[in-house]
Symmetry: C2
Subunit: 376 residues, 2 copies
């Protein structure tokens, strides 16, 4: 049995104080259902991370089913930190493959901009492992990926300028995406000189907090866009347990399974969304996904391989860095961009794309999902 | 393809200030894996509701996979308020039915006793719908089920004494269950005269807050205990949307699907765990599950039908009321009791039981799961 995409929907990403978590959840879902020509929905899955701690709102699955009048269908929320969206999608796919459901709505959503920096930092840190000393010693997500960047520089000869080129590329892509959080052009100088967040990561190297939602309707009924693979893996939950600081085993394992299922290799992929929570993460994950040799991903920034004109087109949406990163929505919004590309109507549309890949990361490498889609 | 139970594990339920959320998660899981003879685990699912808001700990899926050294397997947390455990189990079953996994570990966990009454009430209220006036008008879960009880009395002629008999039955059962939170015997007088929580529900009519975890290993490999059905449904998220205050449509719908799949009727069920978050809920759900006619469930308390000596043996574990209610663990702990009964080694063991049913409720009727198990 195969699973196909029938419709997608997405809110604008940004800061929306007047729009509730529930409003965004419904808005993206309704758009996806309309785009899919209003099929009968047999189950809903919601990806969300911090609704309970920052909006005092759980039960998003039943709220979605109930508000849209979908009947007494099974409704489920999935949490996997920043991979909540990709994991909700995978549960929807497994539900169809199990034979229990024909058509499923998967919606990712997060509301983050209404709480203070201290509160949001605390909420995000729930994606680290309390059993570790790291969190209590003050390690945060920028801190973790900053350490990785320093180590990467030390091992490979890369520099802050390579990180800046990731940020610039993704901002340039975001400028053409009307749903992006950031649409103001920038320059390499502005990025290099921006306020330092955690050495060597500056403001532009870090994804923002964001309000937003994205949705996809999938079905075992045939359509023009098919899933070639859905894969998920987990990895260490603490930095001290990493065998190699420059490896994200969850990304590598989910990639292996996905290519094996799809029967393709990295060179077959035409358009790619990578979870660039930090500029450094895009480079390391582009290696773990097999697009570049280990320790050589940064060279692509010098030779333009990952630009919309290159051979591995990474984050044509603008990525988490500039499209924005509403945690639970991110994995589903990657599918929105890939589907838009395969349909030929995306921001930064590329020619002759037939196969797209989306990779969604959770925690400091705790989770990764990889989904591969093909235009038939 | 069928799904079988290979092992179960459960911590003692109660108040354990020295034991972390993670400790409990691991303890129940290790016990279930040992009970299953240590099979290769292909994926884990965790049911949890308030880890993010009261323990600042999410990513429980990858923590479980990682701490137990299960490798880079897919790991997923499922949230559905008090039905989180039953829903995690269902996702595990769907994962096996999809063909992706052979053997899956499902663990439910909650830590609740370490926070203040105000904090826990706020955390629990995330299982109500923010879009409603009810929550802001001060409605709580005891308030909701108290209204139902008053309406039930008005419509049927039942009285507080019937509720007390539910509480007494479940306490008497819990006294024989060494894993229960409450093992002190009580009397009908003590229950009737206990501190009022919300008219007409007294202290013994309300399930407690609890620390605890429960786990189950399921597989497509054959064993002596098989799932006849897994069903899930959703219902209204607000009292004002209920067409009939004395109906829980999610329970009714999940029951219909479950009996249909299992090819059995209520009279075929030998042992039953019902989600008795309040004494009133056990009575209404016993009707919705088809064991009694609508409006007549209370009569079973007068004639002893739901006692371990009756014909519909409900909550031989002690139920949520006296075994305890660690929210995310409850649905899985129901399976622990049913499996123990079918194996012939349960607290309040009943003779000749072959088919067991577990029903897990979330929110004010937002979710329900029904699982039916058979001893082969």
């Amino acid at each position: 049995m195969s699973v196909y995409v029938h419709g997608v929907g997405m809110t604008k990403f940004g800061k929306f104080p007047e729009t509730s978590l529930k409003d965004m959840l419904l808005q993206a879902s309704v758009e996806a259902i309309k785009d899919a020509q209003k099929p009968k929905i047999d189950a809903v899955f919601v990806g969300n991370f911090m609704g309970g701690s920052t909006s005092n709102q759980e039960i998003l699955g039943s709220i979605l089913a109930n508000e849209l009048g979908l009947g007494h269908i099974p409704a489920t929320k999935v949490e996997g930190a920043c991979a909540s969206g990709g994991m909700a999608l995978r549960q929807g796919i497994l539900g169809i493959l199990s034979g229990e459901y024909e058509t499923v709505l998967v919606t990712g959503v997060e509301k983050m901009k209404h709480v203070s920096t201290v509160e949001i930092t605390e909420a995000i840190n729930a994606a680290m492992d309390n059993g570790s000393n790291e969190k209590y010693a003050g390690l945060t997500f920028p801190g973790f990926f900053g350490v990785l960047a320093n180590r990467y520089f030390y091992e490979t000869g890369a520099s802050k300028k390579h990180l800046a080129k990731v940020a610039l590329k993704n901002r340039n892509n975001a400028v053409n995406n009307p749903l992006s959080q950031f649409t103001t052009p920038t320059t390499i100088e502005e990025i290099m000189n921006a306020r330092m967040i955690t050495e060597p990561l500056g403001l532009f190297d870090c994804s923002p907090t964001t309000d937003g939602a994205a949705a996809v309707v999938i079905s075992r009924k045939k359509s023009a866009i098919k899933f070639l693979a859905s894969a998920q893996a987990s990895g260490p939950t603490q930095m001290q347990e990493a065998a190699d600081l420059l490896s994200l085993p969850a990304v590598k394992e989910s990639r292996k399974k996905a290519y094996e299922k799809a029967g393709i290799s990295p060179k077959d992929v035409d358009v790619i969304e990578i979870h660039d929570c930090f500029s450094m993460t895009e480079i390391i994950s582009s290696e773990e996904l097999g697009f570049f040799q280990k320790g050589e991903g940064y060279k692509a920034l010098d030779n333009g391989d990952t630009l919309p004109t290159g051979k591995f087109l990474i984050n044509t949406s603008g990525g988490l860095l500039s499209k924005g990163h509403p945690i639970g929505a991110t994995g589903v919004s990657q599918i929105y961009q890939i589907v838009s590309q395969l349909r030929g109507a995306a921001p930064n549309q590329v020619d002759s794309d037939r196969i797209g890949l989306a990779q969604n990361l959770g925690g400091t490498g705790s989770y990764s999902t990889v989904h591969i889609l093909e235009r038939l």
